[in-house]
């Protein structure tokens, strides 16, 4: 069944208008027109008249959950989410950065999203591979059924098969290209630390200028800080101006966390985040 982006857009606008008019929410996090049709932007509607600027099409890849923490606690917010974005909402609720009762989650079941930089179709290779939001108060379209279910970790196979020296050379090349613009951090809903560890001076974890050792420390530590928290939305990689495939490393860590601790980020409202949790019977094998 084909996705009608136009229908979703209409429903999104209708709901946004209704919620704002009724005063149920004071802010709607959605998407708006950018400099052209193929380059939409994140958009915040604050009153009913803003709603006409809302769009939804296959290039609306942004994870709007990144903006949730920027509002004072208690702000009533409606947010448009796709599958991975809804997982980010759940994860933020776990971490008590936002309260569930302050949110109206507008779920968008969808497939066929496209990378606005490259035009490439986005699937489980660069994102979590789910089609339907995991959390929602309403759905803006019909649930997707019948689309191929591909593991989001299949894309790791060639990298895991690489010899370690080859793999190191691959990552060194990638990290050396990093210009430390921190777009990855800005795009990620889970990176809400301000100041970030790398911005600190006491201690100075890494050099602040783009060079090998500081880049390595920044990225490896960031992967660690996101372990069990990254929802595999892929936005960090799409935001990167030099196209570093960060999603590969995040997927690897997510898969290890799933195997070692039996949990995936943002899938269930009950879980405790993996690294602030333990089971007495966690196996010592995980350290081998």
């Amino acid at each position: 069944m084909a996705i009608s982006f136009k229908q979703i857009e209409e429903k999104l606008k209708t709901e946004a208008k209704r919620l704002l008019k009724a005063g149920t929410v004071s802010v709607v996090l959605a998407y708006g027109k950018g400099y052209d049709e193929n380059h939409p932007m994140p958009y915040v509607a604050k009153n009913a008249s803003d709603v006409e600027n809302i769009v939804f099409n296959e290039f609306c890849t942004y994870n709007m959950a990144r903006y949730l923490v920027r509002y004072p606690r208690g702000t009533k917010i409606a947010i448009a989410v796709k599958a991975a974005d809804s997982r980010a909402v759940i994860q933020l609720v776990h971490e008590e950065k936002v309260f569930r009762e302050d949110l109206v989650v507008m779920g968008i079941p969808v497939y066929g999203m496209k990378n606005s930089k490259t035009g490439e179709e986005i699937d489980s290779r660069t994102t979590c591979g789910l089609y339907n939001p995991v959390l929602y108060d309403m759905l803006l379209g019909e649930e997707v059924h019948g689309q191929p279910v591909v593991s989001p970790y299949d894309v790791l196979a060639p990298y895991e098969a690489m010899d370690k020296d080859e793999r190191f050379a691959f990552w060194k090349k990638e990290f050396d290209r990093c210009i430390r613009c921190y777009a990855c951090r800005k795009a990620c809903p889970m990176c809400y630390c301000d100041p970030c560890f790398i911005d600190q001076n006491k201690p100075k974890w890494g050099d602040k200028s783009p060079q090998s050792s500081g880049n390595l420390m920044y990225h490896l530590t960031r992967f660690h800080h996101l372990a069990g928290r990254c929802v595999d939305c892929g936005e960090c990689s799409r935001a990167c101006p030099v196209n570093i495939p960060l999603y590969l490393f995040h997927k690897k860590v997510a898969r290890e966390c799933q195997e070692m601790f039996g949990q995936s980020a943002g899938m269930s409202i009950q879980d405790k985040p993996v690294l602030v949790n333990f089971r007495v019977d966690d196996s010592d094998k995980i350290l081998e």
Binding site: E95, K97, Y192, C193, D194, F197, Q200, L275, V276, N277
Partner: protein, 649 residues
Amino acid sequence: MSRIGVFVCHCGLNIAKTIRVSELAAFAAMLPDVVVAKDYKFMCSTPGQEMIANDIKEHKLDRVIVTACSPLMHEQTFRKVLAASGLNQYLLTIVNIREQVSWVTHDIEEGTAKAKALLNGAVYRARLLSPLTSRVIDVSPDVMVVGGGIAGIQAALELANTGKKVYLVEKNSTIGGHMAQFDKTFPTLDCSACILTPKMDAVLQHKNITLMTSCEVSEVKGFVGNFDITVRQKARYVDHSKCNACLACTEKCPGKGVSEWDEGLVKRKAIYIPFPQAVPQKPVIDKESCTFFKKGKCRLCEKTCEHKAIDFEQQDTFIPVKVGAVILATGYDLMDTSELIQYGYGKYPGVYNALEVERLFNSAGPTGGKVTLRDGKEPQAIAIFHCIGSRDKNHYEHCSRVCCMYSLKFAHLFKEKTSADVYQFYIDMRAAGKGYEEFYNRIIGEDVKFIRGKGARVAKSAEEPGRLIVEAEDTITGKFIKLPVDMVVLSPAMIPRADARDVARLFNLSTDKQGFFMERHPKLAPLSTMSEGIFIAGVCQSPKDIPDTVAQAYGAAAEALTIVEKDKMELEATTAMVNPASCCGCQNCVRVCPYGAPSFNAEKRVSEINEALCKGCGLCASVCPASAIIARHFTNDQILAEMEGLMEF
């Protein structure tokens, strides 16, 4: 810029044999910020310590590095030297070149090289050390004991005798606990009330004990040395200050409730005293069975009372109490065996549990001490079942420890008071205490029949109406037994009280799988808990008999004294603190701390650490993504600097 003094110890030949100590000192002297570097035969000796003290003054040192044996050996010794010289004791670093270098290698080159690397690391770290002061806080001298059974009573008396003020908080309207319900106690068969009631009276009379009955703890705030506890005094509807315990009010009361004291075997009035030796000896009104509270009529007790002590307007009140330490001695319950339907408890009138049988034996009990069944008849044959619910994977895995002994006691008393045949159905006989094995042997000689096989089922006898049939396998002979009896006594599992989890939550304790309070260490700290200042004693920690309970009560009293005997306490200095400017409010620290030291300030949206609770483990610092937590004396930059120094050469 620091002024570092490095002192290298020879430790006789212990270090000097494998490490070129003078070369080490010379190496140190070349390092930036090191203004004096010496070596000496025995640093920990008086001249050695004096050398350090003199050099601190002469060279105006602000950091001291002692390169010698393990810090676990002499860190405290050298800290005192610094303190005596006016230098903060946390500006000391010890480099271990004995236990971890000179004693574990014969190679002088390797040993000296490693010692240099370790020393370099220490110098890097020493530059970044900060003076730390431990805060000194006032300690509240009083102690609260929660639970007025034998454990709570003994602990309270012991503490009160040292001059400390004790608040003894008891849920029921009388103290005494389960022990007051017993008839005789094993292995000496002395009368329980006879040994207990003098203690209960001593509690009442003691000027240092404030007895709070019909009370429950409703809120616990504060921390060790300074607990702010709110105690809820439940309405008793009797004014204790006016009541003289004449009990005239109880005579005409029409209300009927079920006697908890007599384990439900008889009814009692709505206004009642649980048992004749209750302490305090004042009646209490049970709202659920009182005619006035239910229907709005009656008030006979009020009319009868000459001292106008009845007060139906009484409300629950909340009493704030400040104490320095708390002992929890909240005891146990017996498992409700009605869920084990194969035994027919609650279904067949002839099936009893252990506490009910205690009440039957007790001369103040519902049958005046006679062993008669619910229909008034005397039993001709009695079966005692061990391990009902205990040692059972489907219910409670633990052994309840006392049932073998009280089953033997019951057998003896049954033989004494009736002419019945007595059968013991057991899995093992556990008689480990002092005098227990001897008691067991005595009972064997009293014509009690022992069958090694757990009681499997109790059924109604088809042939003899009114009688029961017990079924079991005699595992020694391998035969199945079907025995007609009149009475079955079950030994139910000893389990934590129904509200144990709530009490644990109030005091921030963990409970084990069964629900008993978790001790700090099962062997070396059985009476303390992970919540500093909260101690446990008695069966609330795990099933045990009276001698062990009393021993624990005394032990807990001693533990509590270690907190309250000083009027000031020094808090741990190497605690953690949150830099609010960097905190991102993720609450990771709040989630992981074993001591509950961090808490989230919802207004400021940052976490804060209560330094009185912090033990300095550093877990919070490593889960903090923003590096906002400063783990004093083990900060991120101190550790990174040490690593840099260690890897430099």
